[in-house]
């Protein structure tokens, strides 16, 4: 009976989750929301995390109805992500680990998403599409590594959506991507956008600058409504994501696809991926906002798996890193 | 000597009839028959053909263009001629790929000659000897073909036929 606590703060969400052998006991989270038209900066995000960390930790313990003594291992996000926010979160994790005299596990953020997705959905060996504000990767497990088969060559899909949301001055609450999704539902007229798939990689920066330049003019001239543009943007970038995922599935002969990461909550992306999967007699697994979006439980889950095969870190090794490739981690816990 | 009648791969109800005549004395008259509509067929210049398959690919494409309403010339038989030629210019294509009055042989292609009537009419008209269509390989002028299709030596080293059919299939896509 192992209980793990996970600290996540690599981007604008501060989450602390507690897991007991695959059961999520608690998973409170607080999101740093910036005014419409603005992105979140590292310094302000870190300040937000420092201000909320202890309250969220308190809530996590209370909701889970456990005391620090019962916790077996403290897990934290080592990277990738924003420097100051990562460190602010790690500071709390390191301090409580010493206070409670518990071992620490340094977790790769992307692997947290994958392990949480597998736990929640029961997917055995899925091809994983990890899509968020900072990441776009198609990942498949092979020979002790989560290998990156395809990824973005420039900006992440979430970043592309967020930056277009700023052009339209959409609200960042709960997230710019969510508001694009709602607006897109009313879109009708399709605008063809640059579609850039190169092998199993994708590129969004050309598409983003294309639509950033044209949107104001097209809207002013009344040719396209913001809803049309949101719909066209989603249709094009999601089609690119589904295509590289299908290529990876074909390449690895995989019959399971799992979407993780904040953008994975997008119902339209899920529908498109499901249609692709069904055409290949494959199965789509998707998680809802509780686990798709950055949260502490996912770090606890990955950390639990690592802890069970002895992958703890000495305290002085628990530094944070902004760049931490998914395929750098030895996945000892899978056969 | 039977001509070759082939069912169209994509349109089962359509056929392609191929026939080769050598030692022909009256090419002019045959072309006249097509001009005045006595019978409808593609009268092709044998020196420009390396293999019956080259004509089949051109003919198959002509039938397809006709079905989807994308023909560049007025009928399926003139379309075969046009498809064979790498040039976008119709009259230039006819000149280079249509049999010339002074030619000694002709390669005939007929679409949908259901009853064999057209072939019969052609056989009655031609003053020459009908031979197996594969004999056209002996009549190909490879140098001229190489010049007109702009074949590279690399292509020739593998297979002139593949080079030609690839051009024929891709012609309308290459130059837009």
């Amino acid at each position: 009976m192992v209980i793990a606590i996970g600290f996540e703060g690599s981007a604008n969400k501060l989450g602390i989750g507690i897991i007991q052998d695959g059961v999520v006991l608690s998973n409170p989270r607080h999101t740093y929301i910036t005014p419409p038209g603005e992105g979140f900066l590292p310094r302000d995000t870190a300040k937000h995390h420092r201000e909320h960390a202890l309250d969220i930790l308190q809530a996590a313990l209370q909701e889970a109805k456990i005391t620090p003594e019962q916790i077996d291992v403290v897990c934290y996000t080592k990277g990738p992500g924003m420097g100051a926010p990562l460190i602010s979160t790690a500071v709390v994790a390191r301090t409580v680990a010493q206070l409670w005299k518990k071992p620490i596990v340094a977790v790769n953020h992307c692997i947290g998403h994958i392990e949480m997705g597998r736990l929640i959905t029961g997917a055995v060996n899925p091809t994983v599409l990890y899509v968020s504000g900072g990441n776009t990767q198609v990942i498949s497990y092979s020979e002790k590594r989560y290998r990156i088969f395809g990824e973005t060559i420039d900006i992440a899909v979430g970043n592309c959506l967020d930056r277009f949301a700023r052009v339209l001055k959409l609200s960042n609450d709960p997230s710019p991507g969510y508001n694009i999704e709602q607006l897109a539902k009313k879109g009708e007229k399709f605008l063809e956008l640059p579609y850039a798939v190169k092998g199993m990689d994708v590129s969004f920066s050309g598409l983003l600058s294309f639509i950033e330049e044209r949107a104001p003019v097209l809207i002013k001239k009344g040719e396209y409504t913001p809803a049309d543009l949101c719909m066209s943007l989603q249709e094009t970038i999601f089609a690119m994501l589904v295509e590289i995922t299908e290529r990876a599935m074909a390449h690895c002969c995989s019959q399971e696809v799992l979407i993780v990461g904040g953008v994975g909550c997008n119902k339209h992306l899920q529908d498109m991926m499901r249609k692709m999967a069904e055409e290949r007699d494959a199965v789509l697994y998707a998680t809802d906002e509780r686990f798709c979006i950055d949260n502490g439980a996912m770090i606890a889950q990955a950390g639990l798996e690592m802890f069970k095969c002895g992958m703890t870190s000495p305290l002085d090794d628990t530094f944070c890193t902004q760049r931490y490739r998914t395929d750098e981690v030895l996945v000892k816990w899978r056969d | 000597m039977a001509a070759k009648v082939i069912a169209n791969e994509l349109f089962p109800d359509s056929t392609i009839t191929l026939a080769l005549f050598r030692n022909v004395e009256n090419v002019k008259e045959i072309r006249q028959c097509v001009m005045n509509g006595t019978f409808e067929a593609a009268i092709l210049k044998t020196s420009m053909i390396v293999d019956p398959f080259q004509v089949i690919v051109a003919a198959n494409k002509a039938v397809h263009q006709n079905k989807v309403g994308k023909m560049m010339t007025k009928n399926v038989h003139s379309e075969i001629l046009f498809n064979l030629s790498p040039s976008k210019n119709i009259s230039d294509s006819f000149r280079k790929f249509g049999a010339g009055d002074t030619d000694q042989s002709v390669f005939i292609a007929v679409i949908d000659d259901k009853t064999g009537q057209t072939l019969q009419a052609i056989q009655n008209t031609v003053k020459g000897q009908q031979v197996d269509v594969d004999e056209v390989k002996q009549l190909s002028d490879l140098n001229n073909i190489k010049k007109i299709y702009k074949l590279t030596d690399a292509e020739l080293s593998w297979s002139p036929l593949d080079a030609l059919v690839t051009r024929i299939a891709a012609k309308d896509i290459m130059t837009i």
Binding site: L54, A84, I87, S88, V91, V92, R94, D316, T318 | -
Partner: protein, 85 residues
């Protein structure tokens, strides 16, 4: 005497254990390489001693301020979830 700008902090803790915990937490993350700031920590009895050296005053100030933010967080964490058992 180096021409660097120097700052030394002596932070007293109620016990040596708490000073060690603060040291354990705050000594892990290094100063950014390009920042041009050198920082060293050590614990003497129940005092955490922090030494900063920087070529420019500005980078020194940024480093010290940032360190203080994290230090405050450690103190709050100990206060709320300590004292050490």
């Amino acid at each position: 005497m180096t021409d660097n700008n120097i700052a030394d902090l002596n932070i007293p803790f109620p016990s040596k254990t708490e000073a060690d915990i603060a040291y354990g937490t705050l000594s892990v993350d290094q100063e950014p390489k390009r920042g041009g700031v050198k920082r060293s920590l050590r614990v003497e009895d129940c005092i955490l001693k922090v030494h900063f050296e920087a070529k420019e005053i500005r980078t020194l100030r940024v480093s010290v301020n940032s360190f203080m933010d994290y230090l405050l967080l450690v103190l709050q964490t100990i206060q709320k979830f300590g004292p050490p058992s």
